[in-house]
Symmetry: C2
Subunit: 354 residues, 2 copies
């Protein structure tokens, strides 16, 4: 065991503050990483406030982790000391089930072990995430980050990136296709970049003309304002694929109308109850509504390599860890373009001041 | 024009009664059919009562039509006088759009012309369906029925048959797969027969243990009673494909839980509003909910030929046309196994008695 410092939510109501804890020494298959940057996912905010009623405290959030390898176990072949490593939403899974053996650890039948707000397999020990100076992760759940990427801006790739890349690949988005990305936030802005890089014609579908303008800057070919009834009617039946990044329950019927025959809309954000869907809107056109969760570890490495090849990173705003509670407040107002990333060098300063 | 007799709903509240009307003489591409049998679809009941607020009166229902060809236009090559013909839910479409040119006339961008409760293309004339002695249909929308099929029991294939066959084929149901058919009625009982003939292991998923028993007789390998919470939990994550024939709004969440990773549930019955779906139930497992409407004309012929090869017809109860109003009352109580079929020879008698 070795000592770590982190920034933790002690319970659901107290703001995050410095926190000391122990991590396991790296075993033969483990990689110890000194964390450089950690992205701030919307789920961090929800989990620290127990919005989903499954929070475990104390909680060190963070699952968009970029760091430098400082120590590796004897059996580690994937990375070596000095390499840049990435860790996303999972740090373990059963590795035996139908999902794990198909490199779909995110759908592990037993449930993957979350990077934070979970318990280590076969133990009561809580998992602690990336708002900390170090982390130890089994090599299967670590990806290699090419030095050519802007490392700060690469952090959100580990969650927002893979969450949007995976469905675009699975549903074979590519040249000649018209793809809509619904919602412009941390996920949506990555969806635009990926769909465009995959060769599709990309439309940002948003409630806000202002966001639409920014989507064009990010690479969208067109903007469709979903509150513009005439524009929505004109776009009826024109999309091969829709990536729906809306993070809350909403009415999917107007979006289903945008799909071509045999088109699919994939939800990546809305975990909770959606408004009643009219069966007619799927039956008339053999349309599908699907869901997708992050991606497996092999695919996460593939996504990172795709980003390196296409020079894709997130649009970010850097913060110090001491600013995390204020950052959450801004996220609640959608006041971030498009992801906060914590400079983890600020952690020692914050811990010393505490 | 030539004179026909039919059985019509004069308005949404008066029972069906004898009705005289004219049909067009067959043009060069038309086939004139003397109707032998007509299946009674649930939609007949809804349309005659204007339950969907789109009914056009007077209405001659019926879109599960089997008859003998009595006259063909000069350009007709598909069938000849004396052949047995089938007509389903459509009698025309635009024939130019992306759907029609892909043999998916059911998804015609302009909307296909329904066999009844529609208007002939380029005309105000109402279309009149199969509760009548004769019909004239362009050859593209007529299929050839092999003499080897039980013609009475073949009538429901034209709607209930193709509605279930098409999604099972589209989603590639076959050997090694576990397929669930939700709901045992006119559609569900055909779904069981087709999925089994395609080589899948078939589970009837029903609220009623009694119906479950009958499903085994129809070819289901297993029964899952959806009100049995322990059985539903045990079946979690075990189905490759679910054919959902429930004809009304319902909670899809318990069924989504039955799907394997990447599994699909396809709706063929529920046109109206469904209960709120939890996004989580699709996102965790990359699952899909889709819809499907009847099938194109090429596929309808393929389905008929599949039925001939596998000796598949519907389970039916024959009625005289004079009993149609009583039959509707029984259908409202689900008191039919599994489709009423009208012996159209009874029509002249009913008309004479009127």
């Amino acid at each position: 065991m070795f000592q770590c410092i982190g920034y933790a939510a002690p319970d659901a109501t107290t703001p995050l503050a410095p926190f000391s804890f122990e991590r396991r020494d790296p075993g033969p298959h483990d990689i110890q990483i000194e964390i450089l940057y950690c992205g701030v996912c919307h789920s961090d905010l929800h989990q620290t406030r127990n919005d989903w009623f499954n929070s475990l405290f104390p909680m060190v959030p963070g699952h968009e982790i970029i760091g430098r390898v400082v120590r590796v176990g004897a059996q580690v072949t994937k990375l070596k000391v000095g390499d840049v490593a990435g860790v996303g939403c999972m740090v373990d899974s059963c590795r035996r089930c139908v999902a794990c053996t198909a490199d779909l650890e995110q759908y592990c039948v037993e449930g993957p072990t979350p990077t934070y707000n979970g318990r280590e397999r076969g133990s009561d020990a809580l998992t602690f995430g990336g708002y900390s100076d170090q982390i130890v992760v089994e090599q299967r759940f670590v990806v290699k980050i090419p030095d050519t990427l802007d490392l700060k801006a690469a952090a959100p790739l580990l969650c927002a990136g893979i969450t949007t890349y995976s469905p675009l690949k699975h549903w074979k988005v590519g040249p000649g296709q018209k793809v809509g990305v619904i919602g412009l936030g941390g996920l949506g802005h990555m969806g635009v970049k990926f769909a465009r890089a995959m060769g599709a014609s990309v439309t940002m579908i948003t409630t806000s003309p202002e966001k639409g303008k920014d989507a064009l800057r990010l690479g969208a070919n067109e903007v469709l304002v979903s509150r513009d009834a005439a524009a929505m009617e004109k776009a009826r039946g024109s999309f091969d694929f829709l990536l729906n990044t809306v993070p809350v329950g909403h009415d999917m019927n107007p979006y289903a109308a945008l799909l071509k025959i045999d088109g699919t809309m994939t939800l990546v954000g809305a975990l909770t109850a959606l408004d009643p869907l009219m069966g007619f809107n799927l039956i008339m056109g053999r349309k599908s509504i699907a869901g997708s969760s992050i991606g497996g570890m092999v695919e996460t490495q593939e996504m990172i390599d795709f980003c390196a090849a296409h020079n894709i990173v997130s649009d970010i705003e850097m913060i110090d860890i001491a600013d995390i509670n204020a950052a959450y407040e801004r996220m609640l107002k959608n006041d971030v373009k498009y992801r906060f990333v914590i400079d983890m060098a600020s952690l020692k300063k914050a811990a010393a001041a505490a």
